[in-house]
């Protein structure tokens, strides 16, 4: 063996030759350096202290992980540069380099915390998953999935601001100390709507210390809901118990949660949640939805009535009358005979299922609807223990609203205001409150937030907030289970303070804010505060506390039941029904930015709106017929740009929407407009939360404003509709007029075509017999596989047998073996369209798990988005629908790589970069790919994504940056890169990528299984040569591995598993039921991902029943 000594002279004793170097430092990113400087000495010091394992385990800077990750963004490997392995000085408990560590925590939210399991790699939280042990587990929605990116967001607030200018910590400390010392201070606190037991406890302490303190609660889009039925009383839905659901403008599956939603979807599957029963329509629930524009919930509905938001009251009133109650006085009688018929049948169905039905109202609808719905539910005996609805008492009580806050400020009752709400009142409070002016009246306003938004600038002080993954806290989930919020990592930036830490500072003797890690590695004071709160609930002692930290929640700690305030009279000033001259504007909650708080979250911005498929912006939505009546339809549809020969119909980058001028409440807004199918006539939907800041690159040349409020993601995004809105019209406003302007605005739509074009892609059946040739439920089920082209396509016969060579590559028996021959695992997936509502949860989860880059609006518009899951959404209109021909069915269909056993992509790759694995995966070897893109052409599902640019190295959000090549701005060591999953290669430009079935998870589970059985054998004391190893022991346990999309799905619509498990696994059973079909079966690709046809469960007595569940059934 020849040994060569390279590079290094012998190290003289007593002298080290190497200085501190890591990839991060090489790249010399300021963010990384700052983090390093701050974290490292502290971390080291803390590591020296063994006494507090609890706090120490989260603070380790995983040098190894971080530096490997930073070094790992290119795939090029030349002659080795010298690299270093930097181990810990003291090994932290539980951390195994290279293995993920999981913690139970939760994300505090207005409608109840989302329980989470958080994956951390060497101290970096990278991925969130639902905590399924939690009683209120309901998957994770896109917001929760994307929240981890906020932690690493480059635009995250990291400096203390005084009147919008950077200020020193000492100054702030002095201010806080002064407030803390002044017990007579007139302090106001504006909280968010989340329910935190520790915060509520501290609130009481603050009240005690500062008798003049006042407390308020504000979130822009929560409505009046929490005050109507009593202070802090709310109705929580238990969908498992509801056979019939009437959702009155209530998007409970999307942005307006009413309780854990997973059980709702379990009952959308006729074979039961895990496909273990015979299909039985009677076990399914039935959803009636009344809404203006399609929401995710409306898309799921069996019967959907489209009415303007203002008319929901009339419908509700009519339902109440049908049930023998008084309606709303002032509400007009229904005149449309179809609506009357619809209401009648609905009411009858609800009545016949009394005790098992529920009527839920959108939380932003006026109070009177909530009171009436509560009355209806009481009449139907739907409220109570063991009933579909339960009235509970939240702990957030005695909080004023923003209107009372304004009154108090105006009255001079507040000198100091702490703005702790996640909303942005200066931007999003109703326009008539003029909150900016109100805020200016307060002597000292201190805003805590993770973005430097309008309120942060308007307040005297802005304190950067610690992310919920960085701080100790607690929260209540939807039904009130006590749920812990634990930090995964120390705050990335100095001066980041959590809400509890700020409150504790006020309570402290010296008024000093102790943030993050305290002095001498003492834990944050919030830790003690949370422990104290918990001790009162779950008992003292380490054991209970450890259990809480392990499980993430305290079992049996639900909200107490409450008696909602009863109403007998229902008064309402009902506005006139909208007409084309007096339109209704609905200020919608946006699926990407919510109320505007996620404007700087690139994942959410790039995730298409589930209904409109618009990314990166908002746009006004209008029904086609209304558009025609207003004379703007042709403008919207005919987006032709005759100069661009390449794309004559204005698709892709050429799509420019016409802009309309909406005038309502005396204000106007210019906004691009899109056609929205199934929307109520004479309404305009405008999603809120956009238009927060502009710079010189704005497509419309709007005046640069508020540039410091957002980062690169949020700048120039969309149009701000908040100024149109006032307190009386917080949800919808009537009397709007619309004028077409001659401006056009480029919009980036992910999906341009809304119809299936007669192809039975996302299949649908109905549980009832509409007395046509399609027959009853059984017949329809049996014919699922024969819909569309598959009805007459001959069977696929292959000339070749998929076998290997007997001579060169024989199997164990010496004969030619099948090509896909792993006897242990054969992975497969099925996607249940009956449960899938088309939210973007899987899409964002996949992005988080698989290091999928964001590409920016221009690239999306061209059609270069990188999401491995494409959430197709089809509208299927029934031509003969006599009930409402303009109310099409909405069927979502997530499409990712379906891992065809006979994959067309593989055969065309000239370099063998994509081949099949023995366990049935269509593998993609990035490092072998040269980027001919032939595979993507030949993929019938168009599931492959190409890295047209170095999206990871060149920030796509800087204008033209991608096109500057080597001259463009690099972003190595960008803080966002810390989110990367170390087990997934970060792709460079020029390579193809696609869904891998989360192969990193599969490999990990398989290896874990092999390891585990060795441990077993050794424990048994046998020599290894006598160890019993069989297929059974090597095979991973049934359903023990979950892929990222499946894990995140709130609807359990995705099941994944091992085909060898047969009917033991949900996936195996799902493949055996009749609803199972292969997408594009006609081509004979034999995909491993199959789809389960959507089942609609219409009420045969409804006037529209025979048009339901027929999205594809009539296709030839």
């Amino acid at each position: 063996m020849s040994k060569r000594i390279w590079q290094h002279p012998e190290v003289p004793a007593g002298e080290t030759t190497v200085s501190w170097r890591s990839a991060g430092q090489l790249e010399d990113s300021p963010a990384f350096r700052e983090w390093l400087d701050r974290e490292f000495p502290q971390g080291a010091a803390e590591m020296a202290d063994e006494s507090d394992a609890e706090t120490s385990r989260r603070s380790f800077l995983k040098l190894m992980g971080a530096s490997t990750a930073l070094a790992g963004f290119g795939m090029a490997a030349c002659r080795r540069p010298e690299t270093y392995i930097v181990p810990y000085t003291k090994a932290p408990e539980w951390v195994i380099p290279g293995k993920a560590t999981y913690y139970a925590s939760s994300m505090p939210r207005a409608n109840g915390a989302t329980p989470l399991v958080i994956t951390t790699f060497e101290g970096r939280p990278t991925k969130l998953a639902p905590n399924n042990l939690h009683p209120d587990a309901e998957g994770t929605d896109a917001f929760a999935q994307a929240s981890v990116l906020d932690l690493y967001s480059p635009s995250r607030s990291r400096q203390i601001l005084k009147s919008g200018k950077s200020a020193k910590r000492e100054e702030l400390d002095a201010v806080i100390a002064a407030i803390a010392a002044d017990k007579a201070a007139k302090i106001g606190f504006l909280f968010g709507a989340d329910d935190s037991p520790t915060r509520n406890r501290l609130t009481k302490e603050i009240s005690a210390k500062f008798p003049a303190a006042k407390f308020y609660q504000y979130e822009a889009l929560t409505g009046e809901y929490y005050s109507v039925l009593g202070d802090g009383v709310k109705l929580v839905a238990d969908f498992a118990k509801a056979d019939r659901i009437l959702a009155l403008d209530c998007d409970f599956a999307g942005t307006d949660p009413q309780g854990p939603v997973t059980p709702f979807f379990a009952r959308r599957k006729p074979e039961g949640k895990v496909y273990d029963q015979k299909p039985d329509a009677s076990k399914m629930n039935r959803l009636y939805a009344v809404e203006a524009a399609f929401s995710l919930t409306g898309g799921m509905a069996d019967h959907r009535l489209r009415v303007a938001a203002s008319e929901v009251a009339a419908i509700t009133s009519a339902i109440a009358k049908e049930l023998g109650l008084f309606g709303i006085s002032g509400a007009p009688q229904l005149t449309d005979p179809k609506q009357v018929e619809w209401v009648k049948a609905t009411a009858a169905d609800l009545k016949s299922h009394s005790g098992k039905s529920m009527v839920i109202v959108g939380s932003r609808q006026p109070a009177v609807l909530h009171t009436l719905a509560q009355k209806i539910n009481q009449t139907l005996d739907n409220i109570g223990e063991g009933k579909p609805l339960l009235a509970v008492q939240r702990e957030n009580q005695g909080l004023g609203s923003i209107a009372t806050l304004k009154a108090d400020i105006d009255a001079g009752n507040i000198d100091t205001l702490f703005l702790l709400t996640p909303s942005n009142p200066v931007y999003d409070a109703p326009a008539d409150l003029d909150f900016a002016a109100t805020l200016a009246k307060v002597k000292t306003s201190i805003q805590l937030g993770d973005r430097t938004h309008a309120t942060a600038h308007a307040a005297t002080w802005h304190i950067p907030a610690a992310h919920y993954l960085e701080s100790w806290s607690d929260a209540r989930s939807a039904r009130g289970t006590y749920t812990v919020v634990q930090p995964m990592i120390l705050p990335l930036y100095p001066n980041c303070v959590s809400e509890l830490e700020l409150l504790l500072a006020l309570l402290a003797e010296n008024g000093k804010i102790l943030d993050g890690e305290g002095e001498n590695a003492a834990p944050s004071p919030a830790y003690d505060a949370v422990r104290k709160t918990f001790a009162a609930l779950g008992g003292e002692g380490e054991a209970a506390w450890k259990k809480l930290l392990r499980d993430g929640f305290l079992a049996g700690s639900q909200y107490p039941q409450a008696t909602p305030r009863a109403y007998e009279a229902f008064l309402h000033t009902h506005p006139a029904a909208p007409t084309k001259d007096s339109l209704e504007v609905i200020f919608a909650t946006d699926a990407s930015v919510y109320d505007g708080r996620w404007i700087d979250n690139a994942w959410l911005q790039e995730a298409p709106d589930p209904i409109s498929k618009l990314t990166w912006d908002n746009a006004a939505l209008i029904a086609p017929k209304t558009a025609k009546e207003l004379g703007i339809y042709d403008e919207i549809i005919a987006t032709e740009n005759p100069r661009a020969l390449g794309s004559p119909d204005g698709e892709g980058e050429n799509r420019k929407s016409p802009m309309i001028q909406v005038t309502v409440n005396g204000r106007t807004l210019e906004i691009p407009v899109l056609v929205s199918f199934g929307q109520a006539e004479n309404t305009i939907i405008i999603p809120l939360g956009y238009g927060q800041a502009f710079d010189k690159d704005d497509a419309l040349g709007r005046k640069p404003a508020n540039q410091s409020h957002v980062g690169l993601v949020g700048i120039n995004r969309g149009f701000n509709a908040y100024p149109l809105r006032n307190s009386r019209s917080a949800y919808f406003a009537t009397g709007a007029t619309v004028k077409l302007t001659d401006k056009r605005y480029p919009v980036a739509l992910v999906q341009e075509h809304n119809s299936m074009y007669g192809r039975a892609l996302a299949r649908e059946v109905s549980t009832i017999d509409a007395h046509d040739e399609k027959g009853g439920f059984e017949k329809q089920l049996a014919n699922v596989v024969k819909q569309g082209n598959d009805s007459h396509a001959p069977p696929n016969i292959s000339l070749y047998k998929p076998k290997g060579s007997a001579r060169w590559n024989p199997g164990p028996d010496g004969k030619a073996q099948p090509l896909i021959n792993d006897p242990l695992h054969q992975w497969a997936m099925s996607i249940d369209l009956s449960a899938c509502m088309g939210c973007n949860s899987c899409l964002v989860a996949c992005q988080a798990e698989n290091n999928i880059p964001v590409v920016g609006k221009e690239q999306v518009a061209k059609g270069r988005e990188m999401h491995w899951i494409r959430m197709d959404r089809y509208f299927a209109a029934q031509k003969d629908n006599t009930f409402d021909a303009d109310n099409p069915a909405l069927v979502p269909q997530p499409v990712a790589c379906v891992h065809c056993e006979s994959a067309p992509c593989e055969t065309v790759c000239p370099v063998n970069a994509t081949v099949h694995t023995e366990d049935g995966l269509n593998a993609m070897a990035y490092n072998r790919c040269i980027g001919t893109r032939y595979c993507a052409n030949n993929c019938p599902y168009k599931a492959r994504r190409f890295n047209f640019f170095d999206y990871n190295k060149r920030n796509p959000l800087i204008k033209h940056n991608l096109y500057r090549g080597p001259l463009g701005e690099r972003r190595d060591g960008d803080s966002e890169h810390l989110q990367r999953n170390p087990n997934v290669t970060v792709r460079m430009r020029g390579v193809m990528e696609k869904c891998t079935y989360c192969v990193q998870r599969l490999k990990d589970s398989v290896i874990r299984q092999k390891r585990g059985q060795k441990q077993e054998a050794l424990v048994a004391g046998k020599p290894s040569t006598e160890m019993e190893v069989t297929e059974k022991t090597l095979r991973i346990p049934v359903d023990s591995v979950k892929v990222a999309c499946q894990e995140a799905c709130p609807a359990d619509a995705i099941v994944f598993g091992n085909l060898h498990d047969g009917d033991q696994s949900s996936m195996g059973r799902s493949k055996m039921i009749e609803r199972n079909y292969d997408l594009l079966h006609y081509i004979g690709t034999r995909p491993r991902t199959s789809y389960l046809a959507r089942v609609k469960n219409p009420n045969p007595d409804m006037p529209d029943a025979k048009f339901i569940g027929k999205a594809t059934i009539h296709m030839v």
Binding site: Y800, P802, K803, G804, S805, A806, E901, P904, E906
Partner: protein, 184 residues
């Protein structure tokens, strides 16, 4: 004639036309010469017969060259796709039944190898490139690529004799008969 001693290459005689050349060639052939050649600006049909040349052996070279190409392609494809590292590609067999997929490459390599054989075989047979040749020193030979028709009989030929050969050339219609010498 120069005064330096030079080896004689042979006689070069010009002929009026292709047909004259043809007739002359037959006579030179019949006179039993071996080392001689006809030079013309373009190939003249039948001159091979008139000179007594055999059909070119090149096709045989090319046949074997082409077969080598076929075999190379097959060996390359079969060994890599079936023997060394079979991959699972669109459920296509990785055994003898994969061969149809190899045909295009086998065909192309057959042609490629044949093409190279033609090129190098030809160069070998006609012994080119040879940049220096005594004939190039002739004052009239440049017309052989324009409109001249020549016969050159080499001195190396056993039948060559300085006088009789010259006479023969003159007799069969050769004009501008020139003694070509080798340089240096």
């Amino acid at each position: 004639m120069s005064t330096t001693r030079k080896r004689v290459y042979g006689y070069l005689a010009e002929f009026k036309s292709a047909s004259a050349l043809y007739k002359a060639a037959e006579k030179v052939r019949d006179a039993g010469f071996r080392k001689w050649d006809c030079y013309s600006p373009y190939p003249i049909h039948g001159l091979d017969g008139a000179m007594g040349l055999k059909r070119s052996i090149l096709p045989w070279f090319v046949f074997f060259g082409g077969m080598t190409g076929t075999a190379t392609a097959f060996a390359l494809a079969y060994s890599t796709q079936v023997v060394i590292y079979p991959t699972v590609v669109q459920a296509k067999p990785a055994n003898i039944f994969t061969i149809p997929a190899f045909f295009p490459v086998m065909f192309e390599l057959t042609i490629l190898f044949s093409g190279f054989t033609v090129l190098f075989g030809l160069l070998a047979l006609i012994q080119l490139p040879r940049l220096n040749h005594p004939l190039f020193a002739s004052r009239q030979f440049h017309r052989a690529t324009d409109d001249g028709f020549f016969i050159a009989i080499e001195a190396r030929d056993p039948k060559f004799s300085p006088n009789q050969t010259k006479e023969l050339l003159a007799e069969i219609g050769g004009a501008n008969i020139e003694l070509v010498e080798e340089e240096d």
